[in-house]
């Protein structure tokens, strides 16, 4: 087939669960490509020499390379090729904002026919999980112990690479289940926890030990880890998990909660499942405040928990929404109502429970530092939205208690850990950091990439000692 013919082929759509079925379960919405779908989609790739798609990928996955292997039917090899730079293809294939990364740069994007790189990556990732790779050959044991604090994507990626480099790795996680945002935040219908568990299993097979229920700085100190337990280097992947509130009147009324609380109850604590004890408020008329993935996830969870209506309040327009395009589409299909150019000004309650949120209309002004047009309130435009549950999803920041983890470690005013850009080492020798706790709220793939980079730097550090 020549390029012209390939360009005529149509993108293969992702098979999806029917909307009616979605609303009554937490089952994954994207059902995944069949092998046939995968072949058909791979067929469309032009195998560009310069491969601009790769420039869009934060970790430079060899996209034409893995797609060529798919075409040959060499799925395991395709997976291993991805894994050279992205350790968790089954996860990133599902959650990367592809339309702003690899797929945005695909030469076919201009015609609106970018290769569905994420869907292909997901297929290959699933294939590897179904065919566990025996070929992970870890380097000879170095006898050095490395502690990884936090089991989000940054920590897990660091742990995996360090283990492959022959170090003895222990991951310490504050919660009772490892995975960070992947298990407490991102819902089942987008990223089933079993996908994360599979990756954890791979790590365990590499000899990584995972200890839950350890809040480093409280249960164990860094001094314990270094001096008593003999860890020669430490990676801090603490994330940026502290919820930001609006700071407006009525915000502490019962019925108002952070997306983190809502999602943690639903995902980590599995409140959607009757067999679990954790309660979650099931609002009738729910409002969600925000426009990112967290807001979409919250809205869609609320619908699945039986809300009559879910209204999303966002202070800019759809074009500025930071959420993945697919999530926005799914949310809309499922019935989430978007109230755009709207900002809440106060929460109103009766008899001790939320009953309404007062809002103000906005218009877009000049672009701000983020390049997005700044929302400006329209005076006198107040209006009331009746609601019995409000979920705030306007962002998260570094947990202020991260300062307890390592006294003397340099952090900026926002609490972000300051690291050397090359080595990701903090001002404390032997202590490294990466992921959201360094960069602020970012993406899974960036966290993974930091974890890997740090693993390499830690290896160099240990070998030079």
């Amino acid at each position: 087939m020549d390029a012209k013919e390939r360009m005529k082929l149509e993108p293969v759509p992702m098979p999806e669960l029917e909307v009616s079925e979605r609303l009554s379960s937490f089952a994954e919405v994207n059902l995944g490509y069949s092998e046939q779908d995968t072949q058909a989609e791979a067929e469309r790739c032009l195998q560009c020499k310069k491969a601009p798609c790769r420039e869009g990928c934060p970790v430079d996955v060899d996209i034409p390379g893995f797609i060529a292997l798919i075409r040959e039917g060499s799925y395991a090899e395709a997976g291993l090729k991805i894994k050279r730079t992205n350790v968790f293809p089954a996860i990133c294939g599902r959650v990367c904002p592809q339309e702003r990364q690899c797929q945005e740069r695909c030469v076919l994007a201009k015609r609106g026919k970018a290769i569905n790189i994420g869907y292909l990556e997901r297929f290959v990732g699933n294939y590897l999980i179904a065919h566990p790779e025996e070929q992970i050959n870890a380097a000879p044991a170095t006898g050095k112990r490395v502690a990884v604090v936090g089991s989000g994507p940054a920590g897990l990626a660091a742990a995996g690479d360090l283990a492959k480099l022959g170090h003895q790795v222990t991951v310490f996680e504050a919660l009772h289940r490892p995975g960070g945002v992947l298990v407490y935040g991102i819902p089942e219908f987008r990223l089933p926890n079993i996908t994360v568990d599979n990756e954890l299993e791979t790590l365990r097979r590499l000899g990584v030990e995972i200890r839950t229920n350890v809040v480093v700085g409280r249960t164990l100190t860094i001094a314990d880890l270094r001096e008593e337990m003999g860890f020669a280097a430490i990676f801090l992947g603490l994330g940026a998990g502290a919820p930001i509130f609006l700071g407006i009147e009525g915000e502490n009324l019962p019925g108002v909660m952070s997306a983190n609380e809502f999602l943690t109850r639903v995902n980590l604590m599995r409140a959607f499942d009757e067999d679990y004890d954790t309660p979650v408020q099931r609002g009738r008329n729910v409002t969600v405040i925000g426009g990112g993935n967290v807001a979409m996830d919250s809205s869609r969870c609320a619908l699945r928990l039986g809300a009559d209506s879910v209204t999303l309040l966002y202070r800019r327009t759809r074009a500025e929404m930071p959420a993945r395009v697919e999530e926005v589409r799914h949310a809309e299909e499922e019935g989430v109502i978007f109230e755009l150019l709207v900002a809440p000004t106060r929460f109103l309650g009766e008899e001790g429970h939320l009953t309404a949120v007062e809002c103000l209309r906005m218009e877009l002004g000049e672009p701000d530092e983020s390049g997005r047009r700044r929302p400006i309130p329209l005076p006198g435009s107040e209006f009331i939205v009746a609601t019995d549950q409000a979920i705030i999803a306007i962002g998260a920041r570094v947990n202020p208690s991260a300062r307890l983890v390592m006294p003397g470690m340099e952090q900026d005013d926002g609490g972000h850990i300051i690291v050397d850009r090359e080595t990701l080492m903090t001002n404390i020798p032997g202590v490294f950091s990466g992921g959201d706790v360094v960069a602020g709220e970012e993406t899974v793939i960036r966290a993974l990439s930091d974890g890997r980079k740090a693993a390499q730097a830690i290896d160099n550090y240990l070998r030079s000692k």
């Binding site: 009772h176 502290a242 009324l253 952070s258 609380e261 943690t264 604590m269 954790t278 202020p400």
Partner: protein
């Protein structure tokens, strides 16, 4: 897994567990708490730590059987294990260097005072303990508190044991008699802590309340535990659980504690209703 090494029924529906949790035992300070999960489908339950034995690697918890999760905990016997124990969480009590201090505890809040009173004494204070219970059969930790304080007053609401009345009454009497204190720490039901704060407020005595809002993670990640202190929102699990009692918005705390009560949910489903709690708070002043 955290093995239960001892279990005692202290009173009806109040159980004391001693649990193997060496790291928690070693790092714990008075005022901190832990979160447990009984089994894989269970809620996360925050509990104060009443005693630690760093050598034996154990911590002691005193639990009031309140609802579903604590009932499930009560099923566990010596030799069984609690699935998850994480701690110590929260900030340790900031005792400072008081000369004369009071611990005022109520019900299942009393055991937490054990370590606090001990630390106050270690800090050089002369310590008065006032501990209150509904009735004689519910009196717990009397001996421990007697040992940890210089003087102990036990009260019961029905007069079946000790002083007949509320904990605030002896406190008020001491203050009216001109006794001076520079620190009061209170742990117990919200209504009691609020009342203690009102008693000490006119005397300007630094008063600390250990708050018990609903929590999920206990690490500062969800904000379920937020409380208003001095007009600012704080997360009790990481900024507390202890706060300046004169600054705490107790009515808000009481409201938020009701959030997941079954009755509360049912009441909401049934439509508008008279809020019992607000009523009782108004009655109590």
């Amino acid at each position: 897994m955290f093995k239960i090494v001892d279990k005692q029924e202290l009173a009806e529906n109040i159980i004391e567990y001693t649990v193997d949790a060496p790291d928690v035992a070693r790092h714990h300070h008075a005022g901190q708490f832990c979160i447990i999960r009984v089994h894989s489908h269970c809620e996360r339950i925050p509990l104060s730590i009443a005693e630690t034995d760093p050598q034996a690697g154990t911590i002691t918890l005193v639990v009031q059987i309140a609802g579903h999760s604590t009932k499930e905990l009560a099923q566990l016997e010596v030799g069984d294990a609690i699935l998850d124990v994480v701690g110590p969480l929260g900030r340790p009590t900031r005792i400072g260097s008081p000369k004369r201090a009071v611990f005022v505890g109520g019900g299942v809040g009393v055991p937490a005072g054990n370590l606090m009173a001990r630390e106050m004494k270690q800090a050089g204070a002369q310590v008065l303990g006032i501990i209150g219970f509904r009735t004689k059969d519910l009196v717990i930790y009397e001996d421990k508190l007697r040992a940890a304080t210089d003087e102990l007053i036990v009260t019961t609401d029905d007069g079946s044991y000790g002083y007949h009345g509320l904990v605030t009454e002896p406190l008020q009497q001491q203050l009216e008699a001109g006794e001076s204190y520079d620190l009061v720490i209170t742990v117990g039901p919200v209504v009691m802590m609020r009342a203690v704060a009102e008693v000490t407020r006119p005397y300007g005595i630094h008063t600390i309340a250990s708050l018990n809002p609903i929590m999920v993670d206990g690490t500062g990640m969800c904000g379920a535990c937020r409380v208003t202190v001095g007009g600012e929102t704080k997360f009790a699990c990481v900024d507390g659980p202890e706060f300046d009692a004169h600054q705490v918005d107790f009515p808000e705390l009481a409201l938020r504690l009701e959030m997941y009560g079954d009755e509360e949910i049912r009441a909401h489903e049934a439509g508008p209703h008279e809020c019992r709690l607000e009523q009782s708070l108004n009655e109590s002043g």
